[in-house]
């Protein structure tokens, strides 16, 4: 039984190898699994050569910083897979999430804060999603405008003030809680990613997002409600960003409207490096997690080597361009 399976599998594989040129196979493989190799190599090399990288404190710090970005990126993966490039407004959403968590729960309690954040997430998802899905407007420009509207509203509502969590509240404990060696934020990240991966791979909605991303016209003809898919993708992104803001606010125990700058492109870099295609239709939330780990380690290494914010931005911007180039070249080669 097994032998015949191997036999039937082997020729078909070599068949595809023959069809595609050798270089295409290599670039395709690199685009598919390169990130695993690169991450492993980077981790091993930096553990050997970079002082302070392999310490437990540093690794915990890497994961603590990775958690909020990871949750944001996990939600945004849906937008990228639906071929809508990205959701720039996560910057506004993360800050809103943090400010609502601390500011509102200080005055009204945690339950109200969670409800308010959920309502705001639904509004963001609906506004972005309707503009992109129903009005067929460009996602980059739409989310650029909602970023400015959202941040403006947040600053106007909060007066630009900084919120601190009160002593001994649930949030404070959440931010520092640990189960064994794992901080709670990391466990939250893994659980959310698993849940979203389930939604992406095992539900009708997830399938619709993928099929819409790979071919919108075909998806529509197949009876997929395209507007609902896009609105859903942006709503998932908004909920991810709100939760990311919660984790960020709980971890740092402060919230201010400017705390989330850079979350848009860090999340995008993580998603793309993880292997989710910006051309849509292909990707996975768990791979995004790996991308987040890679981006966080990269940032951490630069911090350890004393390279400032400018270099970090250059590296992540360059990473986006290079990762997308590899993806594009691999596509070209296999076509």
């Amino acid at each position: 039984m097994t032998a015949s399976n191997v036999e039937t599998a082997a020729p078909s594989r070599s068949n595809t190898d023959n069809l595609a040129p050798r270089s295409a196979v290599v670039t395709g493989w690199l685009a598919d699994r390169g990130i695993f190799v690169v991450t492993a190599v980077v981790v091993v090399l930096s553990a050997i050569f970079v002082d302070g990288f392999a310490s437990l404190d540093n690794i915990t710090d890497v994961f603590n910083r990775a958690a909020p970005i990871g949750i944001v990126a996990a939600g945004m993966t849906f937008v990228v897979i639906s071929a809508n490039y990205l959701d720039l407004s996560v910057v506004a959403q993360v800050a809103t999430g943090a400010v609502v968590l601390i500011g509102v729960s200080n005055s009204r309690g945690l339950v109200v804060a969670v409800l308010v954040a959920a309502v705001i997430a639904v509004i963001y998802g609906a506004v972005n999603g309707i503009a992109v899905g129903v009005f067929k407007a460009n996602a980059v420009i739409v989310t650029l405008s909602t970023t400015f509207i959202g941040l403006g509203l947040l600053r106007w509502a909060s007066g630009g003030s900084i919120y601190f969590g009160s002593e001994g509240t649930l949030i404070r404990r959440f931010g520092t809680f640990e189960i064994g060696p794992f901080p709670l934020s990391m466990i939250a990240l893994v659980l959310i990613a698993l849940l979203l991966e389930f939604v992406l791979n095992r539900t009708t909605f997830g399938f619709a997002v993928k099929s819409f991303g790979s071919n919108p016209a075909a998806a529509r003809l197949a009876g997929v409600d395209t507007a609902r898919v896009v609105i859903g993708a942006f709503t998932f992104s908004a909920f991810g960003a709100m939760l990311g803001g919660f984790v960020l606010g709980a971890f740092s125990n402060t919230a201010v409207s400017a705390m989330s700058s850079g979350y848009d492109f860090r999340a995008l870099a993580a998603i793309i490096v993880g292997g989710t295609s910006v051309f849509g239709g292909k990707g996975s939330v768990l791979r995004t997690l790996l991308g987040v780990v890679f981006v966080s380690i990269l940032t951490n290494l630069m911090v350890l080597s004393g390279l400032g914010f400018g270099y970090q931005q250059m590296a992540i911007g360059g990473l986006i361009v290079v990762a997308v180039s590899v993806d594009a070249l691999a596509r070209k080669a296999t076509r």
Binding site: F148, G152, Y311, V324, L329, R331
Partner: protein, 346 residues
Amino acid sequence: MTSDAEVIGTKSGSRPVERLRRLITRRPESRAVILLAIVSLGAIILEPLVFTAYSATLGRIALIGLVALGLTAVILMGELDLSVASTLAVSGVVMASIDSLPGGILVALIVGVCIGVANAFFVVVVGINSFIATLGMLFFLRGLAFVISDEQPVRIANIDAGIAFGKPLIGDFTPRMLIFLAVFVVMHVFTTRVRVGREFYAVGGNRTAAYDAGIPVRRRIFTGFMISGFVAAGAGAINTLERTAADPTSGSTVLLSSFAAAIIGGILLTGGRGSVLGTLLGAASLGILQVGLTHSAVQVDVQNIVIGAVLFVAVISDPASVRAVFERVRIAVRSRRHQQTPVTSA
């Protein structure tokens, strides 16, 4: 009798209305004209200072519009250049780091053109979508500006020249406004009278057809990105001169307002439709709006909300979007009707 008269009356009365409607739907600039009229009217009534102290208003329009003019060349071909905001910052920082003023300006402009070439390389040769390629460049260059400037504002060596640059040169016009007008005229002539510029429309309208017609599509896209980079770098140099220092963080609001100006101006993001004149009108309405809000002592946060909202409305209200919505509503209504009536035919 009366009903007949009414019908005739509405018919004859609807003709100019109909003509106006057709004009509005046909001309890409119509939205900008409408917004400009509303904003100007509001400003005249509420804040006449906008027009009596017009030099500040013109300066703001030139500030918003210059980058948008360069952007127009790229968007006409259906591409986007999000990196303009960082190009502005990088070229300003580069210019300020060089002691000689003319040398600095020259190098800054060359840097802008090089950034355009890099963008076009990723779009044309590698084949990445321009949104993502220029977004990556946006972050990369923002970081570069920080690195070159050591995360601090860089003062220019020749501060006197900078101060002189901010003063009116001819009449009430500062050099910035004159440069803006010159760039407008050049771009207008380029896209309406010069063959290369006309071909931008063809590339944006239907790339395959343009290629079949013998237009060197790749070279045109390179030209477009180079124009956009060059103009953004020029805007960066002007900002640096006027402020006598280069700020590496500058440019985040430029991204919003320049895209808003171009899109309000009626340019279609999928390419092939729009005009430089529209961008000018878009910049004018945004400039008047901003200066009016500033004169009325509206907070910057609220101004950002207003301009973000204007961009949002502009991007969802272009003719293709409205048609898409109507189509959707029509299908929804029809399918409901089908559900109500018993199924007789497929």
